[in-house]
């Protein structure tokens, strides 16, 4: 990698890996590659997890601390102090997008580095209204609708009416309006309106819910976009925040019914192979340009992902910004080359720049080749609303191949009890091919070779989303 600057300054650091499972493993590997010592944490339920075994093998018992919960910042701070860590990597989930945690890490008496964007940026971009207003001020397209909380019923009705009329003008046959509690999050307090006459009652319901739940009766009113593809732009920047680069686009449109991603593909579209009803190349170029524009404007200083929805008409709308490393960063890394060299590791880049090193390359040094898919192997029942399956895994094997990267904390060939406390992600499989056809074939081949069996405590067999993944492999990148 292009770590041409002094590696010694990096080696003076010690990183607390404040996460579990697959991402903890990837962070530890990246640290090893950079030669940075680290400390890992685990809870009682996770004692058999792969990240614990790796930490024990690499750093010995001293590098491991048992905590009562990954959610307890106090304990993590104690561990960091005890192990004299100088930086904290939050991974994804848990504290990754918690600006308070980042602030605490950076502002406490024994200051540390939070490997992620600075807390002010996390706070600024973590607020969806703020993000939307920032985007609009930079003329970045956002979902049509209000960009501030509406408190007045008359105004709300007027906006809803305009949105209905706007959709009719655009030729949308079943216009939909979304009413959201502006202070809400995680899907709480969101309702759809399909009939202008119903708006008032829905509005009042959401407003009262918001008042009860969030103590703020402001609502957002937006167009509901039904038919879209979910695209992402991977941004990487160093602590100067002045010259962010992108690592291409991803398409994450294949999702479970609960809108959780199941298959991610890089790049976002392949206009040279597949025909789209709109100018796909322009869309990709546009969203990359918009994302970089926003990153530059806020002085974005670490890795992050700009999430977009693209309608069937080819209109991109900014949805939100994820101020963290994402699960699917591997697919972007797989197709990227820096100065012609592959083996890009975005987590290593994140740590390196997070600790203060300069990027060392520009956008011109980055090139892309091929198509990569990431499957999320999960013990769940796709037929039954993707209900998680809990039990013991007995066999977990697959055929090794040079084009396949398997990221998992589940041990091969050893029985493994899936802990119920965390999300049931078992493994990430990243498949690479020189074009979409080859990637698809290899993906199917991988899924065919996979052996994943187990039993729950009533003796029923393991349920996984293998078939769902296989069925959807045909669909990827089509719109």
């Amino acid at each position: 990698m292009s770590t041409t600057q002094s590696d010694d300054t990096l080696r003076k650091h010690k990183i607390l890996v404040a996460n579990r499972g697959e991402i903890a493993i990837r962070i530890m590997r990246a640290c090893k590659k950079l030669g940075i010592p680290y400390t890992a944490v685990y809870t009682a339920e996770d004692a058999a997890s792969g990240h614990v075994r790796l930490a024990r093998a690499e750093g010995g018992e001293k590098s491991l601390f048992r905590v009562s919960s990954y959610h307890d910042a106090n304990e993590l701070m104690c561990v960091a102090d005890d192990a004299s860590c100088t930086a904290v990597h939050p991974g994804y989930g848990f504290f990754a997008e918690d600006f308070r945690f980042a602030r605490r890490v950076a502002k406490r008496d024994r200051k540390m580095i939070f490997i992620g964007p600075s807390w002010k940026i996390i706070r600024e971009l973590g607020d969806k209204i703020n993000t939307k207003r920032l985007a609009r001020s930079l003329e970045v397209p956002t979902v049509p609708g209000s960009d501030r909380p509406i408190y007045d019923e008359m105004e709300a009705e007027r906006i809803a009416k305009t949105i209905f009329e706007f959709q009719q003008q655009q030729g949308i046959r079943h216009p939909l309006v979304l009413v959201k509690a502006s202070a809400g999050g995680g899907g709480m307090g969101i309702e759809e309106v399909y009939d202008p006459d119903q708006f008032r009652s829905v509005y009042r319901r959401v407003r009262n819910y918001a008042l009860r739940q969030f103590k703020d009766e402001g609502v957002l009113i937006e167009q509901r976009i039904m038919d879209f593809n979910h695209l992402e732009v991977q941004i990487v920047s160093d602590r100067t925040g002045k010259n962010p680069v992108h690592f291409g686009t991803r398409n994450c449109s294949i999702q479970s019914t609960g809108l959780q991603k199941r298959i991610e593909v890089a790049p976002g579209f392949t206009p040279e192979v597949i025909n789209y009803s709109f100018d796909a190349q322009k869309v990709l170029d546009d969203i990359v340009a918009y994302s970089l524009k926003m990153a530059r404007s806020v002085g974005y200083d670490n890795v992050g992902t700009w999430e977009w929805i693209v309608t069937r008409q080819g209109a991109p709308y900014l949805m939100e910004v994820n101020t963290r490393i994402q699960v699917e960063n591997g697919v972007s890394a797989r197709i990227a080359k820096i100065r012609g060299q592959d083996g890009v590791d975005l987590i290593a880049e994140q740590i390196r720049t997070g600790l203060g090193e300069h990027l060392g390359y520009t956008q011109d040094d980055i090139s892309f080749e091929g198509v990569s898919i990431e499957y999320r192997l999960i013990a769940e029942d796709p037929e039954n609303n993707f209900t998680p399956w809990v039990g013991q895994i007995e066999c977990f094997e697959w055929e090794k191949a040079p084009w396949l990267t398997m990221l998992t904390h589940v041990p091969e060939r050893l029985p493994y009890e899936i802990p119920t406390e965390f999300d049931p992600n078992l493994a990430l499989a990243i498949v690479y091919g020189k074009d979409i056809r080859q990637t698809r074939e290899r993906g199917i081949a991988f899924l065919d070779s996979l052996c994943l069996t187990g039993k729950d405590n009533r003796g029923n067999g393991l349920k996984s989303n293998e078939a769902f993944l296989k069925a959807n492999t045909e669909r990827i990148l089509h719109f």
Binding site: R104, K107, N130, R133, R136, P141, K215, Q223
Partner: protein, 749 residues
Amino acid sequence: MDNSIEKRLHNLRERLSYITDVFAGKHSDSTVMLEERLTFFAGRAMSGASENAYAELATVEDLFAHVERRLDKTLSPMDKVRIVRHPQRFCLRDILENVYDNFTEVGGQDEHSLDPGMLIARAVITRSRGKKKYMQSIMVIGQEKGHGAEYRNGGSVKPWGNAKALQYMNVAETEGIPIHTYIFTPGSYPVEDYPGAAQQIAKNIYNMAGLSVPIVAVVSEGGSGGAEAIGLADKRLMLSHGYYSVISPEGAAAIEGRLKNGERASPELIEHCAAHLKIQAEDNLRFGYVDKIIQEPPLGARPWHFDFFRSLRQDVIRATDEVVISTRKMPVLRGLALARHRNPETDIDGLYIRWGLSGAAKARLVHRRQQKFLRLSRQAARDRRPFLTKTATTFLDWISKPWVSFKYDFYHKHQRQISTLMEEINNEIDMIKYRLLSPWRKLRCRLPGRQDDKAQELTTLSTWEESGRSRKWNYLSPRYKIDRTLTCPNSESYGCLDLWGPDLFAEFAGVCSHCGYHFPMEPEWYVHNVFDAGSIIEFNSEIEAGNPLDFPDFSDKITAAKEKARAKSGCMTFEARIDNIKMVVAMLMGTFRGGSVGAAEGYKFVEAAARAAKKRYPFLAYVHGTAGIRIQEGTHGVIQMPRCTVAVRRYIEAGGLYMVLYDTNSFAGPVASFLGCSPYQFAVRSSNIGFAGPGVIKETTGMDIPPKYHRSYRALSRGHIQGIWDRRQIRPNIKQALLTIGGRNLYYR
């Protein structure tokens, strides 16, 4: 030895044991001497050696009387406390039997009545002028200590007992008969069962401040809240051997000595506190908190002192007459009648004054009573305003009164009519404009490019004034600078994680993000975060808390408190705005000696209420914390209870909105009077509200109270407060309350 000698001997033995009890070991030479003489005489009388037993007995009795007179001059305050507590002291039933001519007890005879500690009786007095006899009815209300009867609870009245008293005061008002109250209480019983000790006393005081019949109070044992519950009277008489105090000497000693649970104060400390609290009749007469002292026989009256009851009868009737006469309109007639009545030679029973009052006289009566209480205790606060400022304020008050009444009572009424007219004219103009411009509008609708309007509106940045969302609070508690973690008190039961100080005291506003527990915040936090920035105008900040009783070592403590809280008294009064709605706020600050209320705080509170009434502003009492009345100020403190309540009542009746908001801990006197009487009381979550703290309850009742006994939700469930607010929602909630509730005379109505 005949029976009557035996009786008189018994009587003398009782007197002897009384003397011994009262002096608790002091003057033992006198008691030993008396005892020797008594035993000597008894031995002689028993053996028949005495020739003239009656004559000898009379000498012994004379000796007793002589010694009692002599000892009476040496009585210390603590001795007087022992006198009023002695089982041989007369009680309310003795008064009913000896002062009034006939009476009917209304409940209270036995342990099955509603709180026998509070005794209500309808009594009559017969007076004659010439041959004509007049019967006059009186409602007698008072605590009955009951000569040791257990069920009387020593005159410590439960909340429902005070409720009963209030009920019969209202009956007396309906019937138009005067009320005589007799205060024989060591203090109210501090249980929070419905209707709640503090709340009921507050209701009583509030109602007495506007009761339109003459009230005469007689104080024998006036213990703080229990006394005030029936003590707001037109005339307050005090027995020469009684005491009237903010707290029992033992309680004061416990506070002064900083005693922990179960420890006992030393007798010297109790004596010391009793001596410095200025609890005696002469002190209170000098301060002006009682109007007259009724002289008791040496060493205090006992049930066989029939002369005393005769003079008591004269005094209470005279006081009632005086109250009635003073409501007369004609000053000359009033003066003559009062002069005749005040002549101690006059036989009151031979005079007759009608006690019924005309409507106008009733209004004058209430006004005089209110004015009387408002005037009290000003001298006890140190008003450090420069002479010019004071004069200017008074002058401005005087000048602006007609202006304000012109502005609100005259101009605003007509302004409403003018604005109605203007609206109608505007409507007409709009209609005409609409008609005239309709061709142009139709034309514009057909123009191309209309679509872009919608897209533009829905996809470009809108203007939003409130976009400064990053700074949520105008003021941050200085504690946010310290890197440490705090444990939420509810973490055991709710599993809250420890909170990081810089988060908790800045962004979270001191609220546990998991369970919503409210950590206490500084008064400044509220001042700057509840009200509009820059809208605070403090007034009367020069009025200083002092040490009016010269209580030993207290001046230093007050000076220290002033430095610590950077304020001159525990009450900050200011004008402020919330979204441009102006209001007057009186804030009791828990950081200044626990937020206790003394003469200065009461003074500022009364002034604030008057200012709110004058300017037609809403009046908010924000209780950051109050530990009660400042005991080191003695009756200067306790008089603030009726005094501030009168101010509040005058404000409410003038048509204002008086709201109370409790935070952290609010206890005792203020809650039991001017705070508890508000019709709109709210509490911040996690606050404690009550009459007496757990330690005091344990001390006085011997009961262990359940945990969370004083939590605000308990106050909510017994109807004391009307709502519990989140600290972060105080500002919107106050605004909402201002816009939706309140009296008719507010400036924005």
